[in-house]
Each structure stands twice: as structure tokens, then as C-alpha cells.
Point group: C2
Chain length 104, copies 2
DNA sequence: ATAATATGCAGGTAAATGCCTGCATGTCAA
DNA sequence: TTGACATGCAGGCATTTACCTGCATATTAT
């Protein structure tokens, strides 16, 4: 997993919207995903390219259409490496913080 | 939570390193965190500023030193909003993908 | 075959990012 | 009080990002 690519891909509201839309309906075409996006198709294409580069989305060509599918693997890996670890010590980290903010 | 700020903050290797270091030893000063970072102190300060803006790190001034503490809340919120959702449908999403890659 | 449809590719621009240097301020210790 | 130490602030520069327009290619339907 390339954490840089994954986090960078997630660090844009348009791309998160695209993921949410695919979550609602997996396998949409580029055209479908562009609707109501309020930007040129070419811009959305670039966003989808970044999601693909990060492996968050995989595509399949069907005729003249390009279908987009969520790949849940990188998000799972982010969870394993970056989230679970902090969740595990979450309460003790909160305790550190609270104690210090109260002034020692 | 400002998902944009949180993901952007996480989308840089230096900042992830800083978080890892704080995870190892919470409450370090700016000076301690800069050691072995291979960049000017001012650059590291900017990175820490971004982590603070995203609320991933909180700071307390003690004399001439500035102590840094991990704030686990935003990561927890990212988990709730962006990870758990996809984890929940993880296997069915993987199934969609596999089926399509195999060609229908 | 031809027109309509779906996507790809090339380049251009304004703004954001990540790094730097130089200097200012504030705090502690001798 | 004075020098050393820890951090803050301002500006400059190269690269990346996110958007655009214009044109090219490939597929389907008539």
C-alpha cells in the first residue's frame, strides 16, 4: 500500500464524493459519475485517475464505457496501519491530553 | 471534524512520521521532534502547524518549550465516517470487483 | 457509412504546497 | 544582566494540484 497516494486521494472533497457515489451504486460509468459534479468531465476524469492510482477504484472497460468499482483493500490497510493502532491507545492518549490541558 | 484538513494532514510522510514519534513518546518538544528529521526546524514547525490545524495534535506551552500531544479524536471520527462504512461492506465490495475482473 | 456517444490526451493557468533563509521574540541559567 | 537556548514570523522559490479548453480516438446505433 502506498499510504501517500491513498491519503492524498482521500484528501479532496470531490474524490470523497465520488467514492460515496460508488458506495451507493458500484460499477458506474465515467459519464454517470460526472453528472451533477459541477466541473468539466476532464477534471472528474483526473480525480478518478488519482483514485485509480491509489488503488481505491478499479476499472473495467466495457465497449465504449468505463465501469468503476470500489476496491476496499487500501482502506482496510489504512485501518490496520493508521487507525487501529491509535484506536487501541485512544483512551490513554485522551487522558494524556486532558491531564496536560488542565495544567499538569 | 474537517475531513479535508485531517486527510491532507495525513497525506504527507513527514507528518505521519511525526505522529508515529508522538505515539512512541507523547508530549515531546518541537526541538525533540525536529531531531533526525533532515529538514530545517522551520519546515518541521510548518508540518506541526498543519497537524495542529487538523486537530491531530494539541500543544501546551511550558516556559520556552512547546509540548506536543496526540489528539486521537479526529482519527476516531475518520474511522467512524470513512473506514467503518467501507469495512462493513468490504467483502461484498471485493466480490463485486472480483466478479467484474473475471469478465462478468 | 455516418452521426452520435463515451472516453482519452495535450497543454495552459492560478493557487496551494513544501522547502528554504534571515531575523525577531521570549525564557532560562550563570 | 547577559548569553545561550527554544520557538515565532516573514518572505522567496520550485513543484504540484485542480481546474480549464480544444482536439483526437474509439464504439455503437441508424
Amino acid at each position: 500500500m502506498d499510504a501517500d497516494k491513498v491519503f492524498k486521494a482521500l484528501a479532496d472533497p470531490t474524490r470523497r464524493t465520488l467514492l460515496d457515489r460508488l458506495y451507493e451504486k458500484n460499477g458506474q460509468t465515467l459519464g454517470q459519475l460526472c453528472e451533477d459534479l459541477d466541473m468539466a468531465r476532464q477534471s472528474a476524469t483526473q480525480h478518478l485517475g488519482i483514485l485509480e492510482e491509489a488503488n481505491l477504484v478499479s476499472t473495467v472497460r466495457r465497449g465504449r464505457e468505463k465501469l468503476h468499482f470500489i476496491n476496499p483493500v487500501p482502506i482496510h490497510e489504512v485501518y490496520e496501519r493508521w487507525v487501529r493502532k491509535f484506536e487501541h491507545r485512544r483512551l490513554s492518549l485522551l487522558h494524556d491530553l486532558k491531564k496536560e490541558l488542565e495544567g499538569e
